[in-house]
């Protein structure tokens, strides 16, 4: 039986990788993938706690997260297409017209 701490540690590692990915990468597709990584690290933590405490609500939350993630990707990809159509680039550092 794998102890709970390992799951949590894996989840934390995954979340950190995801967060770093969001911060350092400039390609929105990669950023999306990083976000998915963070979401799934959270899913992993949910599942681990759900299994450890024998409560189903954690697993239900995972389904919700997956649904929201799917919707988010759909909207996000559509936005990226729209941005590319107007600016002919998808580099996030060039989307800075709102700077102070």
């Amino acid at each position: 039986m794998i102890p709970l701490a390992w799951y949590i540690a894996l989840s934390a590692v995954l979340f950190t990788i995801g967060a770093l990915g969001v911060l350092v990468r400039r390609n929105p597709l990669v950023i999306f993938m990083s976000i998915e990584l963070m979401l799934n690290s959270a899913n992993l933590a949910f599942i681990a706690f759900s299994h450890a405490f024998g409560a189903l609500s954690g697993q239900v939350f995972v389904f919700f997260v997956m649904a929201v993630a799917a919707a988010e990707v759909a909207v996000g990809l559509a936005l990226i297409v729209a941005i590319f159509r107007t600016k002919h680039t998808i580099n996030v550092d060039e989307m800075n017209s709102l700077k102070g």
């Binding site: 911060l23 996030v92 550092d93 700077k99 102070g100």
Partner: protein, 704 residues
């Protein structure tokens, strides 16, 4: 004497109707007059006055039974502490005598005015003023009845001011023209002169009233008179002050020296006004006031002497001026002043009955004379009008055809009217003989009683002044008769003068009858007026007939009439000729012509000073000091300094604005510092979100 408050007996309870009837006539004419024909307006006003006369007669009848009189309470007025002043009518023999004269003579003059004003408004070119005249006329009767019927000095003062107002309104009746009908403010200036002069007199009246209130604590006749003897013993100076202040009021209203100057100018009013207000009734209010205040005056002989002397001086002074006047009404005006002087002298001497007697007879014959003079003036107007039409016959009627200035009141334009206006002539002659004091006309009896009283009471100076005044009276009246009615017409208008209609001459005939028979009121030996007034004026005693006095005054009057014939009748004046007396007297007559330069003197001494003072107040005090300096300099500059320098620059700019400007600068500065955070890099935002979350979570974890 205190009257009971019980229900008055007889007709006494009708007393307020002496005021209500004319008031009713006034209101009817005021409200419905526009839709009524002229005749109706005149008759309504006359009936209203006539009804007041009927009430007066009923009151007099009741007084025969209850001679002590009564007090008729109409309404409560002022009740403060012990002060009780009411709208109450005092019905006694003195007030009813006045009521009879006012309403009786007043009614006759109302009827006369129906005819007179009918023509006057047309000659003056504004028939719309016919109604206004009768409204004012009835208002006058109202005010005069309040004056004579009042139970206290305050109510008397209400009437006193009311008649003053009516006098003002009626002198200025043709306010937008002069006496010849030319556009000018001469008539309204005459009205103002009368009003202002009377205000000076009213000041005296008010001072007397205040002093009375101060010393007696009341203004009711009874209460004042009851305390008068005590106060006269304790503080005679105060009573003298009261009576002399009252004399100032009398000299204003009754046209005595020094305030008589308004009365000659008052002739600017229509002739019925001159007859009713400025001869028969209003101007006698002062005489009535002194007679009413008899219990006050008898306590201070010094004041009495001053009153008598003032009256006698006025009588002579005005009589001399009358000799030098050319205007038919001006002569009568000065004659009125002179005759009022007789009355004031009489009541001053304590001869109250003689004064009241002369007041009554004078009301008859002076009203007669004025109204006859009005008839003469209108006769000339008719003649002049007739001429203007005759010369423009065939041409279209031109209202400006009367371009030539024609004075229908100037005796130099008259002459020979005896044949053209015989009725008026005989009426005028009767009035003249009554005024001149020829036996047995009314004036003889009343004037003789005054002279006899002066003689008997030892008022030597007064007696001689009045006797000489009587001589002048006969002379100027004789002069008037010769100039107006005898000789040849000196103007085409006089040659074509027409007699007045019956509505004007009928009331004159009644007045003429009264002027002839009026002496019967108080014949020597009978003393009916004396015993009548005795019930009110307890201190009177029947005067005896003194033959030498009567003989002397009659001889002098006849002599004066003869002298006037010698000067004016023997060789009648012809057109353009100088007054023969002017040739004889020279500068003296010119002084008479100019009324002894009294008006000029008043201008030099008072009016010019007053105008200079008023101008100084207006230009220096009001404009330079108050407006220019105080308002423009002190207030405006002060306000500007306060608003500009203090409030605007210091408070608003340097405090309020500085605070909010600083706030804005600070905000901007903070924003400029913070704006680099908004660098537009999505990832830096994400980093901030992350660090924020880490910080919060860290805090929560560490807080434990």
């Amino acid at each position: 004497m205190h009257f009971s408050e019980a229900m008055p007996a007889g007709f006494f309870s009708l007393a307020p109707w002496i005021v209500f009837f004319p008031l009713l006539g006034l209101l009817v004419n005021l409200i419905f007059g526009k839709r009524l024909p002229e005749r109706a307006i005149g008759w309504i006003a006359s009936l209203a006055s006539g009804a007041a006369f009927v009430v007066s007669i009923l009151l007099a009848l009741s007084l025969r039974e209850h001679a002590e009189g009564t007090r008729v309470l109409l309404a409560e007025w002022i009740h403060i502490g012990n002060l009780r002043l009411d709208w109450a009518f005092r019905v006694d023999t003195l007030s009813v005598t006045m009521m009879l004269v006012v309403s009786g003579v007043g009614t006759l003059i109302h009827i006369y005015a129906i005819g007179y004003m009918h023509e006057d408004v047309r000659f003056k070119g504004d028939p719309g003023r016919y109604r206004r005249f009768f409204v004012f006329f009835n208002l006058f009767i109202v005010a005069m009845m309040i004056l004579v019927g009042g139970d206290s000095y305050l109510m008397l003062f209400v009437g006193w001011e009311g008649v003053g107002l009516c006098s003002f309104l009626l002198i200025g009746f043709w306010y937008d023209m002069d006496t010849l009908g030319r556009p000018s403010w001469a008539n309204s200036n005459a009205a103002k002169k009368a009003f202002v002069t009377n205000r000076i007199g009213d000041f005296g009246f008010l001072m007397a009233a205040f002093l009375m209130f101060w010393s007696f604590g009341s203004l009711n006749f009874d209460e004042v008179f009851a305390q008068a003897p005590l106060l006269a013993q304790a503080m005679p100076g105060l009573v003298i002050a009261i009576t002399l202040f009252m004399l100032l009021g009398v000299s204003g209203k009754s046209a005595q020296i020094p305030l008589y100057i308004w009365l000659p100018d008052a002739m600017a009013g229509p002739t019925p006004v001159s007859a009713l207000i400025h001869a028969a009734t209003m101007v006698t209010a002062g005489v009535y006031l002194i007679a009413r205040s008899a219990p006050l005056y008898v306590t201070v002989p010094a004041a009495q002497y001053i009153v008598a002397l003032l009256g006698a001086t006025t009588a002579l002074f005005a009589a001399t001026i009358a000799v030098g006047q050319y205007d038919i009404k001006k002569v009568l005006a000065y004659s009125t002043i002179s005759q009022l002087g007789f009355m004031v002298a009489a009541v001053g001497m304590g001869a109250f009955v003689a004064g009241m007697f002369h007041l009554v007879t004078h009301a008859f014959f002076k009203a007669l004379l004025f109204l006859s003079a009005g008839s003469v003036i209108l006769g000339l107007e008719r003649g002049h009008h007739h001429l203007a039409h005759a010369t423009h016959h065939g041409k279209e009627h031109d209202p400006h055809a009367h371009a030539e200035v024609f004075d229908p009141g100037d005796m130099r334009n008259m002459g020979g009217l005896r044949k053209r206006m015989p009725v008026t002539f005989w009426l005028y002659l009767i009035g003249t003989l009554a005024l001149a004091g020829i036996f047995p006309f009314a004036g003889f009896w009343s004037k003789d009683e005054i002279l006899a009283d002066a003689f008997r009471e030892g008022y030597q100076a007064v007696y001689w002044l009045l006797t000489i005044a009587a001589f002048f009276t006969a002379f100027y009246m004789g002069r008037q008769i010769w100039l107006v009615f005898f000789g040849e017409a000196r103007h085409e208008a006089a040659a074509h003068a027409q007699e007045s209609p019956w509505i004007m001459t009928a009331p004159l005939m009644v007045l003429a009858a009264l002027s002839v028979l009026g002496g019967a009121l108080n014949l020597p030996g009978l003393h009916s007026l004396t015993s009548w007034l005795e019930h009110t004026l307890e201190m009177v005693h029947p005067g005896e007939f003194i033959f030498p006095v009567a003989a002397l005054s009659t001889v002098l009057a006849l002599l004066a009439l003869g002298l006037s014939w010698w000067v004016y009748g023997r060789r009648p004046l012809v057109a353009g000729q100088v007054d023969p007396l002017k040739q004889a007297l020279g500068p003296l007559f010119i002084a008479l012509e100019n009324k002894w330069y009294v008006d000029e003197g008043y201008w030099a001494v008072f009016v010019n000073r007053y105008i200079a003072l008023a101008r100084w107040l207006a230009e220096k005090v009001e404009w330079a000091f108050w407006h220019e300096w105080f308002h423009d300099t002190v207030l405006v500059r002060g306000f500007n300094f306060l608003s500009q320098k203090v409030l605007h620059l210091r408070l608003d700019r340097q405090v309020v604005d500085a605070f909010f400007d600083g706030l804005a600068t600070l905000t901007g500065r903070i924003a400029r510092r913070l704006s680099p955070l908004q660098n537009g890099f999505v990832r830096s935002y994400a980093l901030m979100v992350l660090s924020g979350v880490v910080l919060i979570l860290g805090y929560l974890l560490l807080k434990g």
